[in-house]
Amino acid sequence: MPTNPVLSLDDVTLKFGGVTALDGISFDVRSGEIFAVIGPNGAGKTSLLNSISGLYRPQQGALTLHPTPQRSSGQGNAATRALELRRTAPHNIARAGVARSFQNIELFRHMSVLDNLMLGRHVHLTGGVLSCGLYWGPQRRAEIEHREVVEEIIDFLEIEALRHAQVGTLAYGLQKRVELARALALSPRLLLLDEPMAGMNAEEKEDMARFILDINEDRGITTVLSEHDMGVVMDLSDRIAVLDFGRLIAIGSPAEIGTDPAVINAYLGQAHTETAPPA
């Protein structure tokens, strides 16, 4: 696996008034890996993901999205220069190829699954008001072309039967899957998943884990996920970063993290079997 970094964090600090959510965080996420961020509740996992996707603006530090080393057609957005995420608006971060799912599902509740996914194609579709309002040849063809891309994702994530369902009516586990599909629809080169398995039963978790693995292996998409379920994290990830009170206390392979005394002290405890609490 290539070790060139896709994302680099350097001494990132985020404060909300008197509360320090992130304290001097530094790490790299390497191309093509599954990188997990774990830690107790309030450790800063969501703040970290929000900072990467541009929703929060850390007061200090650098968050750098590196350019892709070469153009590859399946990778979606190729960038030619590094992007300083702290100074970039969320929609431009998305344009650069960063897609995410949310801890509390943020699907467009009144739209169908299909329309939600088609929105994932927003950065790839062109067409302004006039072009769309007239729905003339080129626009029509573009819509159909991207519909085909979305259909491929629908197949991949096995949600064919739900295409036209209004997402607000779907079961929780399926909504999470649709959110994953929507993030995929952006054709990202960095995928951020915020507790993708929260609130799922064992079977749903297995399915989700399988999808995340497939996404990473088949499509080579670098994935950063925050998660509570230790078993899942240990099985899925290439590397793990452990946060505690906003600070990075350990980073390494699952084996290394499992035996790190600082981590065990802060988080894992003894003879610990974690059943992930619902988010």
Partner: protein, 347 residues
Amino acid sequence: MRSGVFFEKYSEEMALRPYPLQRMRLGLFALAVVIFPFIASPYWLSLANQVAIATVGALGLNLLVGYTGQISLGQGAFLAIGAYGSGLLTLRMDLPFWLSIPIAGLITAAAGLIIGLPSLRLKGLYLAIATLAAQQIVEWVITHWTWLTGGTEALVIPSPKLFGFRLDRDFNFYWFGVATAALAALFVANLMRSRVGRSFVAIRDQDIAAGALGVNVFRTKLVAFATSSFLVGITGALIAHYRTIITWERFTLDTSITYLAMIIVGGLGTINGSFFGATLIVLLPALINSVGQSLQTTVPAAARILPFVQQGAFGLIIILFLVLEPEGLAKLWRNIKDQFKVWPFSY
């Protein structure tokens, strides 16, 4: 889901009326629309013209409020800009109306951008307040800049001419009005099944997630406001050329509330709803009037309070629909259609 209908191409499934039954209904409606002016009395014909014009305005407002989820109280002001814009262009600069109407639309769109720029960066309620301010300012400009608008006097506009026909008769205007309404509906429908329309709804539902998917929320809101204002400006221009006499009283805050009533009652974020709402709100005053007339004999005070009953009725109908059927008449229509989908079985 309908059984027995299979599509072979995406383009078929993504069409505006993919199912044969829908196409049939649309065809019947079109037929009714075409036959109507030949059998209707002048009174009903004028009502129909008002409905057509109001539909365009309702579509414009719905684009902003229903689909993009932004509240605007400036409908009256933007109608005024479109009306006075087009009226003055034809009156003072002798522009033909088929040119002045779109230009008036563009002028109104520009006004929308001006109001939208400071307020759309902020939460939705700020736009509501900003459009309220715009409403007051435009009203003031109309009544005080007499050199431009004739002040509180009426502005008289010559009636428009199309293909040699004077559109001064309800019968003649009908075709023009209906065609414009149909084009506006088609425009909005196309918009909503494509990229731009989806981004509007995304902003309404979850603007943060929309941003995370690459939607430039601020810019898209501006586009929504400008497009909506364009349609509203065209509506105002239509009003000017239909009535040929316009005064500022036609474009007050009450007008804004009337249009909000149209889309709330009709159904926010639906095209059918814009039409249903426009129809109901246009017909309501006529209805109240006839009820008032018949009550005249028994309750003489009725005549005095009639205009206020009208004003209050719009407000009341907004509240009633919000509480009882927030999805409006469009939802009722969908319920009726659903009933017939499985008729004669009830499940």
